[in-house]
């Protein structure tokens, strides 16, 4: 076996090096090269910290009124100015980060869990089961989500939770399609065949062997979905089917500020800016992840 020894000897220096760079390490290296994605990641961390420490950051509570100072522009007392009934807009935007992140993360989490399970089953099992799941998805994708949202809001009441239910339930449709497409491609791989041949159960093959290989598109889609969920939440709040006053939802604040656009544009500008920046940040990070996790782009 002298050949085996030389083969090993040749490889040893390389393996010392690779020890420190795991798959995720490689991805992070690649991600760091994308400056926009880094800026986006920084902003998302800022929003998350703001949401967690809102109590410490906000100088006022969300309901506290500064009597007599309505629709005032930005000043030293009120950095983002005051709203129509004298509440501090900066504090409300800060607390709004909580609402947006809570809805964005919960709805996306629901969407991912249901979508991954349904998509995996559709792609792996195939046949009638697949047809049933895919037609179900087609039907729901054909219904405008605003109509569904209004229906759910009338049943469950206009609240954060009904927004989470609507967006989570609509979100899984897209996730399932992506997961199914990956599974269709991955189940033909030889390591899946090998897993069958070595006696692994179908459930194990689906979730332990195929799913980890399908994570790349799911992670990218999930990241961008958090952003688009926040945007949808803003749209629903704007239309009045989301959370209601005094909940400091950004979309709701934009909606309330639009009637005073001419004399108090800050009422619309600051919450609108928060929405735009947060959504953009998630899109940038999603794009960065797509490149970082794509094995084909590794050697760039």
């Amino acid at each position: 076996m002298s050949n085996a020894d030389t083969e090993a000897a040749v490889e040893t220096p390389a393996s010392d090096e690779t020890k420190t760079t795991s798959l995720w390490g490689d991805a992070w290296k690649q991600f760091k090269r994308n400056k926009l994605a880094l800026v986006g990641l920084g902003f998302i961390i800022l929003v998350i910290l703001t949401a967690i420490f809102a109590d410490l950051i906000a100088p006022y509570s969300i309901t506290e009124r500064d009597s007599g100072r309505f629709r005032e522009g930005p000043s030293a007392d009120h950095w983002f100015g005051t709203d129509i009934i004298g509440r501090d807009l900066f504090s409300r935007v800060v607390y709004g980060a909580r609402v947006s992140m809570r809805i964005g993360l919960s709805a996306t989490a629901i969407a991912l869990v249901i979508g991954v399970i349904m998509g995996s089953i559709a792609g792996f099992v195939g046949g009638l089961v697949e047809a049933a799941i895919m037609r179900f998805i087609d039907i729901f994708l054909a219904i405008p989500y605003i109509i569904l949202a209004i229906a759910v809001a009338t049943v469950f009441g206009k609240s954060e939770n009904s927004v989470i239910i609507v967006l989570g339930f609509l979100g899984w449709l897209g996730v399932a399609r992506i997961v199914r497409a990956s599974f269709l491609q991955l189940k033909k791989q030889e390591y899946v065949e090998a897993a069958h041949a070595l006696g692994f159960s179908s459930i194990r093959i689906m979730f332990r062997h195929i799913l980890p290989n399908a994570l790349q598109p799911i992670i990218v889609y999930g990241t961008i979905a958090i952003g688009s969920t926040i945007l949808s939440e803003a749209a629903l709040s704007f239309l009045g089917v989301g959370p209601r006053d005094p909940t400091p939802a950004w979309g709701l604040m934009v909606s309330q500020g639009r009637s005073d656009l001419a004399n108090a544009p800050h009422l619309l500008f600051f919450p609108g800016l928060a929405i735009a920046l947060t959504v953009t940040a998630f899109v940038f990070v999603g794009d960065g992840l797509r490149d970082a996790l794509d094995p084909k782009l590794k050697d760039r």
Partner: protein, 351 residues
């Protein structure tokens, strides 16, 4: 289209009646297996009435061109082809017919008692898990070992198949392994639960020539270590010559020749086998001797040639005549060396 006539089957000499050098018990016994794929274009006769036995301690080789049905036969034994229909025959595993087993029973057989080694170790290992974890998983699902014990055994097994520094290597991903090392890892996975039979489907085809010999060496050593049998599927007669005890040559889903390696190499009884042997480059002999390829290409398995499936490519065929009209039966050339040709080798071989 000529289906093999089953009433004649009992007159066919039984390959089970003889032993190769492996003198252990009969592990796998395939009897007149006929399996087809029903496609939109017609019925594909992938495996058409083959019979063979594999004993403990023996290396049994199945040789043939691409599409001759050798891999399909093995996959059918494992029950891994959901679209194939077994029309007749039996697959006896330690005396029990695997065709009657439920999917749950088969899952225990697969990997536990019969394990498969695949052709391309590059794609047969999951890229996202460490090698150690994949090897250890075998012991976790089949023998119910704990994570820690399974990993311990995985490291021992990696050591057994000749992977240097197994502890360190177990923590690496497949892409950090060379081709030969990956195939060793595949072998480690297959032998984790000490199966009675290893089915190696072209185990060295994807490997560098220099590594092929090492991997085969490991395979033979492992067979003795865990006292199993091996079914070696290959198109490489060189591999067979050095390793196998008995072998079977397949052509268009049919078994055309069966015997010990010596019988088939030195007393070739079928013109197709002769063609295969002639098309191997001769490195030690006369360098100016031209290679003689088998003319034509393998037949369609949907519309097979009439009579002997090999007759359009056979240089000795009597056409029109018996070769294009009657399908040959397996016939004993002497002491269990079987050949599916209408003529004995004495008849067709140019003297």
């Amino acid at each position: 289209m000529t289906d093999q006539v089953s009433p004649d089957a009992p007159t066919v000499p039984d390959p089970a009646s003889r032993h190769g050098s492996g003198s252990g018990e009969v592990l796998l016994s395939v009897r007149n297996l006929e399996a087809v794929f029903e496609t939109g274009d017609g019925v594909v006769h992938a495996v058409d009435g083959i019979s063979f036995d594999v004993h403990r301690g023996e290396i049994f080789a199945i040789v043939g061109e691409s599409g001759s049905g050798k891999s399909v036969s093995a996959m059918t034994v494992m029950g891994l082809l959901p679209t194939i229909k077994v029309r007749s025959g039996e697959i006896l595993w330690k005396g029990e017919n695997l065709l009657d087993f439920t999917e749950n029973q088969m899952r225990k057989i697969r990997g536990g008692e019969i394990a498969m080694i695949f052709q391309d170790p590059l794609t047969a290992l999951n890229p996202v898990h460490t090698v150690g974890r994949q090897v250890a998983e075998m012991a976790r699902i089949h023998d119910g070992l704990s994570k820690k014990d399974a990993m311990k055994r995985a490291i021992e097994t990696l050591d057994l198949v000749g992977i240097p520094e197994p502890r360190k290597r177990a923590g690496m991903h497949p892409h950090e392994f060379s081709g030969g090392m990956r195939q060793r890892a595949m072998i480690a996975m297959a032998i984790m639960c000490k199966p009675d039979l290893l089915i190696a489907d072209e185990p060295t085809t994807a490997l560098d020539v220099t590594v092929q010999a090492q991997v085969l060496e490991v395979l033979v050593a492992i067979k003795d270590e865990i006292d199993s049998g091996i079914v070696l599927i290959t198109h490489d007669l060189g591999v067979v010559a050095g390793l196998a005890d008995q072998m079977m040559v397949m052509y268009a889903g049919n078994q055309v020749e069966f015997g010990t390696v010596d019988e088939i190499f030195y007393e070739t009884a079928h013109p197709y086998t002769e063609g295969l042997l002639k098309s191997i480059p001769d490195l030690v002999g006369d360098h100016d001797k031209p290679l003689i390829p088998i003319k034509g290409s393998p037949p369609s398995l949907i519309n097979r040639p009439s009579g002997c499936a090999f007759h359009p490519r056979c240089s000795y065929a009597q056409v029109p005549g018996i070769c294009s009209e009657k399908e040959p039966e397996l016939r004993d050339e002497g002491s269990g060396h079987l050949s599916a040709c209408h003529f004995t080798s004495v008849d067709w071989k140019p003297q």
